[in-house]
Symmetry: C2
Subunit: 192 residues, 2 copies
């Protein structure tokens, strides 16, 4: 039941439509929550019915109209209750690491390809996150910004995203290298 809190937290950054949230949650790991587009539309409907967000129609030229949402006072209260409650443990599920775990009975070639692809995706996200950090802190350096900035939440969560993506990239690259070298010099008994 905490998709709603993730949505509320995302809406603190400003008014957004369902579609815009889709994009934010697609980059997603930035705020450590993944959600599919359809989940977001459904959740926004529920949140509005519960009075935690307020919707507003925005008429656009050249594009379909959209509804943008803001967090209400009740929404902030809900977030406060959520933050005070004990945090659930991190939920993580990753195909790729499972495959690597099983690599000894598998053909390593497709895995190496997938690791390199994932490394690239991670590098791209990292670049995106670092750009966002720069934008958030403006001309201040990080220390000063974290001491004096008015809004540091998104910056701090983005730092977490950076750490994750950096490690993901490096792990993928080093794992791909290890597997590649073993394929090139199979100095051990072949299994299967």
């Amino acid at each position: 039941m905490s998709l709603r809190h993730a949505v509320l937290a995302a809406l603190l950054d400003g008014e957004h439509s369902g579609y815009q949230l889709t994009k934010l949650f697609d980059v997603g790991v930035s705020n450590f929550w993944y959600a599919a587009p359809q989940q977001l539309y459904a959740e926004l409907t529920k949140l509005e019915a519960d009075g935690l967000v307020a919707g507003r129609e925005v008429v656009q030229q050249g594009r379909p109209n959209k509804r943008v949402f803001t967090v209400t006072e009740a929404g902030v209260a809900e977030l406060a209750a959520f933050a005070a409650a004990p945090a659930k443990p991190l939920l993580i599920r990753d195909d790729l690491v499972v495959k690597v775990h099983a690599v000894d009975v598998l053909d390593p070639a497709p895995l190496i390809a997938q690791l390199l692809e994932r490394a690239e995706q991670a590098a791209a996200k990292l670049a995106l996150f670092e750009k966002m950090l720069k934008r958030l802190r403006g001309d201040r350096d990080e220390g000063a910004f974290l001491r004096e900035g008015e809004r540091i939440g998104p910056y701090l969560s983005c730092l977490a995203g950076c750490r994750l993506e950096r490690e993901m990239r490096d792990w993928c690259l080093s794992t791909a290298r290890t597997l590649g070298e073993r394929s090139a010099h199979p100095g051990r008994t072949t299994r299967s």
Copy 2:
């Protein structure tokens, strides 16, 4: 539908009962897949029905009997098909980072407590993983083991777990410090 592959991968490490898998998946992030106990029992039943694992009754003294499972040839084939298919993107969901994202409208005190608690948990897991790495590589150094070891999959996935837990620990500590210092010296306009 890849809980089954995570289970198959875990069973490559040796015969395990449902209960034992419960413990492995509870430490869990080591192989980057979280699953609740009830999921595992259900999945094992299905896997056995599909012929991907073989169960064997183990009679114990002083304890209830248990059924342990091994991956069959069909199971390995299933894993191979899984590994060859494109990997799904990493799925991550973390309450705690969502809370930090929203910290600017919240009371930071309970959050700081949660961050420190999480840091401790991460440190404990890291220690566990590092012990496991030592056990897996034996007396060889890492480079030699990765070049010459016969079974490196679990080692590589455990390295990923180490990276994640190390970063989680450091991020939690540095975020808690930042929030703590701001509470101590509120040199900015108070909101709300």
